[in-house]
């Protein structure tokens, strides 16, 4: 069967989808507004809860597959002195439908997949990925901080999503839509929706993506980074960085983690938690030596990793231009501005 096929959804397709999928025992995750102005992915059982107009979710999609904290195993010291270890069971294989992530977040999963299925097959991550279908809602109004088009993406980007949904009535999701099937998983999703979707009439095409000017050229950025490790640029650019983890934790592609044991007297858990290369402790050795002793070396690492090391190892940039780091920065720093300056230096 060919993929990339277009379907039209009638105006109540979303309500029907949530009901049908929930009734079939699937977990439906969708963007909902919990507090005023804050949209996040949460479990829904009714389409009424789904946020209709939003730029993007506050937290990125990655947390659905790589949770902020997860138990890996539990341990307990028995009375005879032995230690009993119980590995945490794998996530249940119940199907999960993410109904309404943004194309940038779906694209980011391609980066995450590379890491978690590279030299070590992370079974916990894979179990969550395998069971999930990603239905992305195309962006109609990129926020001022968005820069997906500068890093190879698009407000209507296909990458990573099983189905991409375009609103036809102007709304993101409420009215009539066009659904573009990208994968077999996407086809299965369409099949489950029954008569609420039907093959699109001939000649129907997705709307054009909203304009979003490219701000820098990643090849030029990479070329400058190749030679720029020792540049004094880093000291200048990093002065305002306060060293918190907001940019990394909100980033859909940042994937570093820390493994900690948390125990009371006789029992405890080993957990995996999000970590961040902006923290001074990230590279601190037990000896006291820190190979990245100053904030500028940590800021440099974050950019080098995303735009040089990661592309060299995996053939893709570890940034999708979602703009969350810019929105979240306490000091008003902008990754897009930094890269625009790097680009200018290269072309200088």
């Amino acid at each position: 069967m060919p993929t990339n096929k277009l379907y039209e959804g009638v105006s109540d397709w979303l309500q029907s989808a949530v009901e049908t999928l929930s009734a079939a025992g699937m977990t439906v995750i969708a963007p909902t507004q919990g507090e005023p102005g804050v949209v996040n992915l949460t479990r829904v059982t009714s389409a009424e809860a789904i946020a209709e107009r939003y730029d993007n979710t506050l937290l990125p999609l990655k947390g659905q597959f790589f949770p902020i904290t997860e138990t890996l195993l539990e341990f307990e010291r028995c009375e005879d002195g032995d230690v009993e270890i119980q590995t945490e069971p794998l996530p249940a294989p119940d199907e999960v439908i993410v109904l309404g992530c943004r194309p940038c977040d779906a694209a980011a999963m391609g980066t995450m997949d590379k890491v978690f299925q590279w030299d070590y097959d992370d079974v916990r991550y894979r179990a969550r990925r395998d069971r999930a279908t990603l239905v992305a809602f195309a962006c109609t109004t990129p926020s001022p901080e968005c820069f997906c088009t500068s890093v190879g993406g698009s407000p209507h980007g296909d990458e990573g999503s099983d189905v991409l949904v375009f609103g036809l009535g102007g709304d993101d999701s409420g009215g009539r839509v066009l659904l573009k099937v990208n994968t077999d998983k996407g086809r299965q999703f369409i099949d489950r929706l029954g008569d609420r979707v039907r093959p699109a009439s001939e000649g129907v095409q997705p709307p054009s993506p909203p304009e979003l000017a490219r701000r820098f050229d990643t090849d030029a950025v990479k070329a400058w980074l190749d030679e720029g490790f020792d540049s004094d640029f880093w000291q200048q650019m990093a002065l305002s960085c306060l060293g918190c983890g907001a940019c990394s934790f909100l980033c859909p592609t940042c994937h570093c983690f820390d493994i900690v044991d948390e125990a009371t007297w006789n029992r405890g858990q080993r957990r995996r938690n999000w970590d961040c290369c902006s923290f001074s402790l990230f590279t601190l050795h037990a000896s006291g030596h820190n190979p990245r002793p100053e904030q500028f070396s940590r800021c440099r690492q974050r950019i080098m990793h995303k735009f040089k090391y990661f592309p060299e190892r995996f053939g893709r940039i570890a940034c999708v231009g979602c703009g969350r780091c810019i929105r979240a920065c306490a000091a008003g720093r902008s990754l897009a501005e930094v890269l625009t300056e790097v680009d200018a230096r290269q072309k200088g």
Partner: protein
């Protein structure tokens, strides 16, 4: 010339003079930028760059946080642009011997409040005219009327709730914490070289973003700031998860004012209740 433009001119002139006369090696101020939701900090080392300095209602940052940064310190004597509320944090840094007055130059800027809808601290501000600075720029501004009444309104709103309601409220709020430590990093008074949450032998505070770890972290941070926090509100502003940290700080500040008649950071000479010993103390204390 608009008040903003004239303040910007004064700032640029003052900074350029200080730099060209060698009084300071660095001026930290704000660079208001078209289209930005906040005027970002700028680090100026030449008289020419001083033209970038300015001041507007998007100058949220409390720049005193940079005064003890190792990178900034190694650049030499530093001047910093401070609002009246930021001066209070500087006063605590002076009182706690984190910085020396002779190592810094304070460029005060009169402030009519920050934010489109003024931040809570601005509606109850009683320090729009910065005190104790080496130079003060900007047109005179009016103090809000009746500032003292609403000072602790967020804390008082929570005091109205029952214990169960409060527990439920804080559980819900602290569950959102992602442990990015933006609150700590933006705080001028969180200057510990190694924060207790980073001490791992033993691990005093769990680093996992689960309810227990999040409660521990936020309570520990509150305790460490009790009697010290000056209410600059930066932690709440930068929290990416919108946790109302200001209410915690207000509660502590209210207790300090009620119990000790003390407001932190009003002067660099002040004696902080928790770090001052007196044989004449009439209270029994804990010993």
């Amino acid at each position: 010339m608009s008040p903003e433009a004239s303040t910007a001119q004064s700032l640029a002139q003052t900074a350029a003079e200080m730099l060209s006369q060698g009084q300071v090696a660095l001026v930290i101020g704000y660079a208001p930028t078209e289209g930005k939701r906040l005027s970002p900090p700028v680090f100026v080392t030449t008289p020419e760059e001083a033209q970038r300095l300015g001041f507007d209602s998007r100058c949220f940052g409390n720049l005193s946080v940079y005064l003890w940064s190792p990178q900034v310190r190694q650049m030499g004597k530093t001047a910093v642009v401070v609002k009246g509320c930021d001066v209070r944090a500087v006063n605590v840094l002076l009182r706690e011997n984190v910085i020396k007055r002779e190592d810094i130059v304070l460029i005060g800027v009169r402030c009519g409040g920050v934010g489109d809808l003024p931040a809570h601290k601005c509606t109850v501000c009683d320090c729009r005219d910065p005190q104790g600075c080496d130079v003060v720029v900007g047109d005179a501004v009016d103090q809000p009327d009746g500032a003292a009444e609403g000072r602790y309104s967020a804390a008082e709103a929570l005091e109205e709730k029952s214990l169960d309601e409060r527990r439920e409220f804080w559980q819900r709020q602290l569950d959102k914490c992602i442990r990015c430590y933006a609150c700590r990093q933006v705080c001028p008074l969180c200057y510990c070289k190694r924060c207790i949450v980073e001490k791992s032998t033993p691990q005093w505070v769990e680093t996992s973003a689960h309810p227990r770890g999040n409660l521990s972290w936020n309570v520990v941070r509150a305790f460490h700031l009790a009697g010290r926090c000056v209410g600059c509100g930066e932690c709440e502003r930068v929290c990416p998860m919108n946790i109302p940290l200001g209410a915690i700080n207000q509660k502590m500040a209210k207790l300090m004012e009620d119990e000790y008649d003390f407001r932190s950071g009003m002067s660099p000479e002040e004696k902080a209740p928790f770090t001052t010993f007196s044989t004449d103390d009439t209270d029994e204390g804990i010993l």
